[in-house]
């Protein structure tokens, strides 16, 4: 109950952060969406056992968050929230591939563990980037960007409504849970109550969603949210997109950590 309320507040906090006016916020959302897409493609193209060569990519989400004035604690919390899902996703990898691949000290590391590590790094990077993107763009503008890049309108609209109704369902659940809790005298919800609880919740959310949709239509909504004005030039948008894409390609083509390591050890020896 409390955690649900906290998650809703967090979402709203995200909306608030997205309203800031840093130059990163004012950048055309298409540039940010494209750069992120490029990032995800590069991230997915690595060999499944790569770990260390993924690390330089972390510069992107961190830079987005830093230049977008996203509070560090908030950003970290959001990223950590995604971590358990990634952990569970790859839980069987170490079991499936027990063949030792490398040694760290006296410890044999199997291919499975390496793949698990790689998956964790990738997952974390993806979550961090998505979080940073929404925080410096706003969900509405991410959708607007997707739309202007040629994503089907239907898809964009669904995404928008998904986001809006997340609040609706969240708030309705919160209210229902509170109403139940106050009459439950400390007894937790039995399995018999679940169907009717979720059923009535669904119906109420549905009705409310309908009212919201009606209210949207009453104010001339026609499928797209009006995009905000962007304060930066097209040159800046291109520079942002090409600059970052170039960086991702460099990360992919050259083993930066190893080169850096060689440089440092070469410099010290």
């Amino acid at each position: 109950m409390a955690s649900l309320a906290a998650s809703l507040l967090d979402l709203r906090e995200m909306d608030r952060i997205a309203l800031q006016k840093t130059s990163l916020h004012r950048l055309d959302p298409r540039a940010k969406v494209l750069a992120t897409a490029c990032f995800l493609v590069v991230l997915g193209s690595y060999n499944r056992l790569e770990v260390s060569s993924l690390l330089p990519l972390a510069v992107f989400p961190v830079a987005l968050a830093a230049f977008g004035d996203v509070p560090f604690g908030f950003f970290l919390r959001k990223v950590l929230l995604g971590l358990p899902f990634i952990l569970i996703l790859g839980i069987f990898l170490p079991v499936l591939d027990p063949v030792p691949m490398m040694r760290i000290g006296s410890l044999d590391v199997s291919g499975g563990w390496l793949a698990y590590g790689s998956l964790m790094v990738r997952g974390t990077l993806a979550v961090a980037t998505a979080t940073a993107l929404v925080a410096v763009t706003g969900f509405g503008d991410v959708c607007a960007g997707l739309g202007r890049l040629g994503s089907p309108r239907f898809f964009v609209q669904q995404l928008l409504f998904l986001y809006r109704y997340l609040y609706v369902v969240g708030e309705e659940t919160q209210r229902s849970l509170l109403a139940r809790e106050l009459r439950s005298h400390g007894r937790s919800m039995g399995w018999r109550e679940y169907p009717s609880f979720t059923g009535s919740l669904l119906l109420r959310s549905w009705e409310r969603a309908e009212r919201i949709h009606t209210a949207l239509l009453a104010r001339g909504f026609s499928g797209t949210l009006p995009a905000r004005a962007y304060g930066t030039s097209a040159i800046e948008a291109w520079a942002f997109m090409l600059g970052w894409s170039g960086f991702f390609l460099c990360c992919r083509l050259f083993p930066l950590p190893r080169l850096l390591g060689a440089l440092v050890s070469g410099g010290t020896s």
Partner: protein, 237 residues
């Protein structure tokens, strides 16, 4: 062309399950009139309101706004002309800030960002809520939300204001401010409410609905003085 006129001709509506929610409603509302729609719960007030901007379509009969009959081709124009303020402002306000929310309507009308913002600020000024412009709607009190929801409709430059239970959930002070505010508007107003005291202060004319039928239509004072009628319609107060 004047839109300051709402007309219902033999308006009837039946829900898909067959329940008749409105039957044979007739009225004409003229420029600048302030009209209350009263009736017990389930009398059809909300259903009637939803017909005025085309959210619900008449099963038979028609609604006219200005010179336009309400149909698929005039729908958008009618929705601009008829500003609907919903009962629960939380259903209406959804953008991250009040200013953006109030500018949402004008943006949908195709106005440029700057123009929309100017209009939004003007609308907020009219409801005395400029200071809330950069706030998030969910941080507002009920009274503030209601005023912003009204501004969100005013910003579209409507000719007719339709309000569903505008005083619900307001504390006495919030309610007084709202009534003062609505008094100042010269718009044609249609107010569905249970708040008879608000009706006395704001509306010169009252429509009484009873089980989907228009039971009475006349000057508020006369209608309220007819105790038999009021009691019969569940409105004794």
């Amino acid at each position: 062309m004047s839109h300051h006129l709402v007309e219902a001709r033999e308006l009837s509506h039946a829900y898909p399950d067959g329940t008749n929610s409105l039957s044979g409603i007739n009225f004409i509302i003229r420029h600048g009139e302030s009209v209350a729609i009263v009736g017990a719960n389930g009398a059809g007030k909300s259903t009637l309101l939803l017909h005025l901007n085309g959210t619900l379509r008449a099963t038979s009969g028609e609604v006219r706004v200005g010179d336009l009959p309400l149909n698929a081709t005039t729908l958008l124009e009618v929705r601009r002309a008829v500003g609907m303020v919903f009962q629960d402002p939380d259903d209406q306000l959804f953008m991250p800030t009040v200013l953006e929310d109030v500018a949402f309507g004008p943006r949908n009308l195709g106005l440029a960002a700057q123009e929309s913002e100017t209009r939004a600020l003007e609308a907020l000024r009219r409801v005395g809520a400029e200071h809330l412009a950069s706030k998030a709607p969910y941080h507002l009190s009920m009274g503030e939300k209601r005023r912003c929801a009204i501004a969100a409709v005013l910003s579209m430059g409507p000719d007719v204001l339709v309000l569903d239970e505008p005083s619900t959930g307001l504390d006495p002070r919030g309610r007084r401010i709202l009534i003062g505010l609505l008094k100042e508007f010269t718009h044609t107003k249609l107010i569905a409410t249970h708040d008879l005291d608000l009706v006395r202060q704001l509306c010169t004319r009252t429509l009484v609905l009873q089980q989907g039928k228009l039971r009475a239509d006349g000057p508020t004072q006369e209608i309220f003085a007819d105790h038999g009628l009021m009691e019969d319609c569940g409105l004794e107060g």
